[in-house]
Symmetry: C2
């Protein structure tokens, strides 16, 4: 049976470990916060003292942390996992991080004959809990095949995006588009309402016309238009505005490196910066409609 | 049988008149360009000398012209149709014009006891030819009911949007969102490609994820990804960039009047202004991807 080492036991990592254990994998678990480790041992996870000892025990290592710097430290610091992984072992990074760092890690792993995949997810905490995440995976196809049965226990859709870095690229570009379309939906609904249109009527028209987008039809930022969305619950996340801002900044850095213009993406980034700076970082990202229309989240 | 007067026999008006005649209506037709009138008389339309004489013969008058100024001239000039329409007759404006002008016309029509609907369309020339237009209609519901059998001969979806001006508002807000999502799709696909992602692969991922929008899945600006779109045919319209710019400017004016911020809409307007000024006004609006990615339309 494959032994998996899992580093990063936050809102995402915790339920992901749970699903791996339910599927029968042996899981060594590590987090810088001891309480986060204690939260998964009752499920059957084995507490690891350090990334190094975790690496010694594991066939496959998965990381799910916040930043590229954290991933680089875990992998490449003096006592990091790369120096304790045997050649041929597999490393899967499920964090959403910048492409530059991902590329450095892929190059270093290749030198050490460690197989590596970048495999950021979409679907949020709800997706992690329900094991319905989408994994966007970059790396070699043979390594993708090996990872597939593991990722399938945590997700519903596992997509091979292309060579090293393609997983991060796909996630970054998708979320860039998500932010733009969400702000666009907020601008359109706000203008519609100020022009006297009933929001439900505008939804009925635009959702069946060329304005249709996921941000409107699956995540409508106007309360009471569709069911089961954060706007109906005072914009409780869902997907926090600060996480969207993080992804927009990743898009910004990636675009800079390859000289790709993102004029709407740049403005969306600034709007989310303003919104987060006003204290709404932990509000759902669809709450930005209240910034556009100048309404309070809670009336 | 209802007699209809139709003013504005361009790319849209010509096929619309054709469908009205096929449905059995008597149609008086007028355009400032005599050749445009000659183009519909072979179908059975009766040539009118002037808007005034057309108004004398018609139970219902429809206009389909370019600008608010043109509509105002047709309706309210010294010898315009309003001074020749009897109380109780119906006027339907199918042009896409600014809300301020529409509101003036509605007020003037009400004074004269002329029933009026603003009923801009979406679906373009292809929709007009196939009688599959969507009509977004503002005005009184009783007048809407009266117009329904007429509009149904030219369109597939006839939506009641709300009181006077709501048709224009719905179209403006929808097309604002369309422009934003189209530019967003162009930014995302351009960045994806520069980051090494195959466009078909990115489409596969994002069209099934939170980036999904009509601009991507029904009108993809990258050639060869989906069928029957202008991008596959050197960006022959379709919906011309200059028409999108016109609609964005209508959104801009409407937003100004009601103090509604459209930060992404404003940048999209500037991008389409640049694109049109570079000589691409008659290219399909999805061609703006070539401006974002700096590629030529024809290779």
């Amino acid at each position: 049976m494959t032994t998996i080492g899992f580093i990063g036991l936050g809102h995402m990592g915790n339920p992901m470990v749970h699903h791996l254990l339910k599927a029968g994998f042996i899981v060594y678990a590590y987090d810088v916060i001891p309480n986060a480790i204690q939260a998964v041992t009752p499920y059957g996870a084995i507490a690891a003292d350090s990334p190094a000892s975790l690496a010694e025990h594991s066939d496959v290592i998965i990381t799910s942390v916040q930043t590229g710097q954290q991933v680089a430290d875990i992998c490449m610091s003096h006592d990091g996992i790369f120096s304790h992984m045997k050649p041929g072992k597999l490393y899967i990074d499920c964090s959403s991080i910048d492409i530059a760092t991902t590329n450095i890690l892929h190059a270093e792993a290749a030198k050490l004959h460690i197989a590596m995949l970048d495999a950021p997810v979409s679907g949020g905490v709800a997706g992690a809990e329900a094991a319905t995440l989408t994994f966007m995976v970059g790396g070699r196809t043979a390594d993708f095949e090996q990872a597939l049965p593991i990722l399938k226990t945590m997700g519903k859709k596992i997509v091979y995006a292309g060579p090293s870095g393609s997983g991060q690229a796909a996630k970054i570009c998708n979320n860039l588009l998500l932010a733009i379309s969400m702000v666009g939906v907020c601008e359109a609904f706000t203008l519609a309402e100020k022009l006297g249109l009933n929001p439900k009527k505008f939804f009925e028209i635009s959702s069946n016309a060329s304005g249709q987008c996921w941000s409107m039809t699956s995540y409508c930022p106007v309360p009471g238009v569709i069911e089961n969305v954060p706007s109906n619950h005072h914009y409780q996340p869902g997907f926090m505005a600060k996480m969207m801002l993080k992804d927009l900044r990743l898009a910004h850095h990636a675009a800079e490196v390859v000289d790709s213009p993102i004029p709407l993406g740049a403005i969306a980034t600034e709007l989310y910066t303003l919104y987060v700076n006003q204290g709404h970082g932990e509000v759902d990202f669809s709450g930005i409609i209240n910034f556009i229309s100048t309404k309070q989240e809670k009336q």
